[in-house]
Amino acid sequence: MTFDRLPKARRSAALLGGAAVALALGAASAGAETIRWARVGDALTLDPHAQNEGPTHALNHHIYETLVGRATDGTLTPRLATEWGIHPDDDTIWVFELREGVTFHDGTPFEADDVVFSLERAMAETSDMKGLHGAVESVEAVDEHTVHVQMEGPAPLYVQNLTNTFIMNREWAEEHDVEEPQDFAGGEESYAVRNANGTGPYTVAERDPEVRTVLEYFGDHWAETPEVSEIIYTPIAEDATRVAALLSGEVDIVQDVPVQDIQRLQETDGITVETGPENRVIFFAYDMGSDELQTANVEGNPFADPLVREAMHLALDRDAIRQVVMRGQSLPTGVTMPPFVNGWTEELDEYPQPDYERAQELLAEAGYPDGFEVTLHTPNDRYLNDEAISQAYVGMLDRIGIDVNLVSQTRSLHFPLIQNRETDFYLLGWGVPTFDSQYIFDFLVHSTEGARGGWNGSRYSNPELDQKIEALATETDLEARNEMIAEIWAQVQEDRVFLPVHNQLLAYAMREGISLPVHPENQPSMTDVSFED
C-alpha cells in the first residue's frame, strides 16, 4: 500500500508514528541503549558471597566488581586492583594496588578497608566463597590504596582465585546488618539479598526475583562508558517460551539456548547465534562416605563399594546422551575437569564404552545381584538439558538393576540438598573460574573441614590426599605442583569419586545487529555488547 492511498486520518497517524520512531531512534543513537537479556534462571541472591554459582555471579558482575577480572581468553585483567604481585621481601604476602577515584553506588569512596572487609566476609562461616580463600591468614590495609594479603605459606596462584570475589562497602554492610553473608543453604534472608551497593557499572533499579531485574548505568563508573545504558534481565524457565520471546522481539539476547533450537535459530533471518565451549563439566556424584544412605532400600551404603561404582560407570552411555539428549552440543569426558583447566590431559579425558553385562556381573559380585533402590536428585533449570540427562541415566541404571527414583526440581532447591548433605546421588555441573585443578580439589575432593570441601557431597575423605591438596596452595615450584596435581587426579580417578558425563557447549542467540561473544565461564558482561545498527 502506498502512502497516497491511505485515508487522510490514517495518513496523519502514520506521520505521527513515523515521528515517534524517528525520535526513538534519535534517542537510541545517543548511546542510551537498553538490552533485554533472558536466561533460564535468575541469580539466586544478590549477596555477593552467599552462593558460588554461575548465574548468580553473572548478574552480580554487573553490580559489584572484583579485584581482578578474567578476559574471554583466560588471562587476568585489572579491575578494582590496578597492579598485583607477590611481596618482593616475603613470598607469603600478596600485594594489591587499588584503583583510585572509584566510588560505590551510594557515593562512598572505595578504599583499602573495603577490600579487607570483603575478603574477611568472603572467608566467613556462611560464605560459599571461603573455599577460594582457605590459604589466607589475614588481610591488612597498608594505606588507603594498598592491601596486603598474608598467606599461610607461599601461594603463587592465589590471585587466580579472586575473579569472583566481589568487593562490598563496609559502612553499607554495617548499616544494614549484613556483615556476615546470607546463610543460603539454611534458608536465611537478609537486606543484601535484594539490595546492593557495589562499584560495578550498573546499579539495581528494580529487583523482583525470578521475574524481572532492571539495572541502570552508574554514571560515576570509572571505566569507559558502555553502549548499554539499561539492562532488563528476565529469567524464562521454559525452553520454548524463551526462544519464542527472542523470535517475537520481546528480548534481545537469550543466553541459555536449548540445544534442540540452535539449528532453527541459525536458519532464522534476523537472529545470530554465537557458539563456543564452556569451561564447565557436568557429572553425577554419590555419597560414598556415609555408613548408611538416606534413600536406599538396602542396609549399608552400596556406593561405598568400588565394584558398585565401577558398575555405574559402565552403565553410562555418554555417546548416546551426546547424540540424542545434547544433539551433539557436548564433549563427553571421563574426568571431572574441563579441557581449559591446568591438569587436564587426553588420557584422563578418555571414557569407557558402556558394558551392561559386565556392570551386572560387578553388581552381583558386590552382593547386589538384584540391584537396589535409590533417589537421584537433579536440577531442571541450571545446565543444558539437565533433567533429560538424569532421566536418560535413570534408564541406563535400570538396565543393570539399580532402581532410581528421580527427583527433579529448581536449582534453588537442588543446591542446598548438596550443601546440607541431604542427597545420596545427584547431578552437578562445575565451572572452574581459576582455570586450575586446585579449585576442583578444594571444593569437591577435600574432606569437609573449615574452608574446604564445601561441595563435597560425595563425602569422600582421604587424609593423605587432603594433605596433598593443602600443599598445592603453597607449592611454588610449578613443575612439582603439576606432578602433585597429576597424582591427586590419579587417585580421584582410581577411587571413582565422580561420574563425569560431558563438557557443555554454549550457544547465545541474539537479534541481528547485536554482538556478544561467548564467554567460557558463561558469565557474559553486557558492557561487552556492541551494536552495529
Binding site: 525452553d239 520454548a240 534442540q260 535413570v394 527427583v407
Partner: protein
C-alpha cells in the same frame, strides 16, 4: 424398541422389571440416548477410560519402566522407523525414546486416577461439611461457610500449589516421591471441596424443614442417621453434576500442576507432564511429542465436561 418391549413385558407378567432394565428405561437414560452430544461424548470418554484402564495390556511398551527405554530411539517421528535402531513407533517417540502412544495411555491412566481420587476426596469432604453446616446451622454453619468464602476468593490452582508446597515441607525427603501422587490428590481435592459444601448446605437447609425429616426427628433418630439415610439421597443429584464437571477440572488441574513441574516425577509422566516435555520441542520440529498428548487431554477433558453439562441439563426440572 425398548419402550414397546417394556409395555408388553409389563402386560404379560406382573413381576416388576429388573434393576438394570429400569435404569435403561429411566428418563435419564432416555435423555442420554436421544442426545447426540451426550452420546458422542460418552463414547469418547468410555473409550479413553477403558484404554487407560487397560493400558498395561494394550500399550506396546511400558513407558514407566526406564530400563526398557532405548535412548537412541529418541525423536523417532510417527509412523517411521528409527534411523539407528530400525524400531517402529505409531505416534513416534519423545526425547528419551519413550513410545508416545504408550506414554499417552499410561499418562491418561495416571491423570484419570488422580482426577477420580481428587473428586472423590473433595466430594466426601464437601458433602460431609455441607450436610453438617446446613443441618446444624448457627456458628458451625457460619464458621464453615466463612472458610469456604475465603477459599473461594483464591483461584483453586493457587490453593493447590500452596497445599502442595506446604505438604512437601512436612514429608521427609525420602518419602516425597512415593507420596507425590497422594499429595497431588489431596491438594486438588482440598482446593475444590467448597463447591460441594455450598450446594449441599443449601439443599440440606431446604430438606431439613420438610416433613419427612421432621418425622424422623420426632421418632428420635440420631442426627447422623437422619443426614445419611434421609437427607443425603435427596441432595445427591446436584452433587453428581458437580462431580462430573469437577472430574474434568481435576484432570486439567493435575495437568496444570504437572505442566508447572510440581506434579508427578518425570519418569512417570501424566498427560500434563508429557505436554510440558513436548512443549520444549515446539520450535525444533518434533511436533508429535506435544500434539498427541495434548489432543488426548483435550478429548478427555472435553468429553467429560460435555457429559457434565448434559447431566446438569437433564437433571434440571426447569429445562425438562
Amino acid at each position: 424398541m425398548a419402550r414397546t418391549d417394556h409395555e408388553t413385558a409389563a402386560a404379560s407378567t406382573p413381576r416388576p422389571p429388573g434393576r438394570l432394565y429400569r435404569a435403561w428405561d429411566s428418563d435419564l437414560a432416555h435423555a442420554f440416548r436421544t442426545s447426540p452430544v451426550a452420546l458422542v461424548a460418552g463414547i469418547v470418554a468410555v473409550v479413553i477410560i477403558l484404554a487407560a484402564a487397560l493400558a498395561p495390556w494394550i500399550a506396546p511398551h511400558d513407558p514407566f519402566d526406564p530400563g526398557s527405554l532405548v535412548l537412541m530411539d529418541g525423536f523417532t517421528p510417527p509412523m517411521t522407523e528409527n534411523e539407528f535402531t530400525g524400531n517402529f513407533y505409531l505416534l513416534g517417540t519423545d526425547d528419551q525414546g519413550r513410545d508416545v502412544f504408550s506414554a499417552i495411555l499410561y499418562g491418561a491412566r495416571l491423570s484419570l486416577f488422580v482426577g477420580f481420587s481428587a473428586v472423590l476426596f473433595a466430594m466426601v469432604l464437601g458433602v460431609t461439611l455441607g450436610l453438617i453446616a446446613g443441618y446444624r446451622g448457627g456458628w458451625v454453619d457460619s464458621l464453615l461457610m466463612r472458610i469456604a468464602d475465603v477459599q473461594l476468593t483464591f483461584p483453586s490452582i493457587l490453593i493447590a500449589l500452596l497445599i502442595f508446597g506446604v505438604a512437601r515441607g512436612f514429608i521427609p525427603p525420602g518419602y516425597r516421591e512415593a507420596m507425590a501422587i497422594w499429595v497431588l490428590i489431596v491438594a486438588i481435592g482440598l482446593s475444590d471441596w467448597v463447591q460441594y459444601a455450598r450446594v449441599v448446605r443449601g439443599a440440606t437447609m431446604v430438606e431439613k424443614s420438610k416433613e419427612y425429616v421432621q418425622a424422623a426427628r420426632v421418632i428420635g433418630a440420631h442426627p447422623a442417621k437422619i443426614l445419611a439415610r434421609h437427607i443425603l439421597p435427596n441432595v445427591m443429584g446436584p452433587v453428581l453434576v458437580i462431580g462430573t464437571i469437577g472430574l474434568a477440572l481435576a484432570i486439567i488441574a493435575e495437568a496444570t500442576l504437572s505442566f508447572l513441574g510440581v506434579g508427578v516425577p518425570p519418569t512417570q509422566p501424566s498427560l500434563g507432564t508429557l505436554i510440558r516435555i513436548g512443549q520444549g520441542f515446539l520450535f525444533s520440529g518434533e511436533w508429535w511429542i506435544l500434539l498427541f498428548p495434548a489432543l488426548a487431554l483435550l478429548a478427555l477433558a472435553l468429553s467429560v465436561n460435555l457429559l457434565g453439562d448434559w447431566l446438569r441439563d437433564a437433571l434440571n426440572p426447569r429445562l425438562r
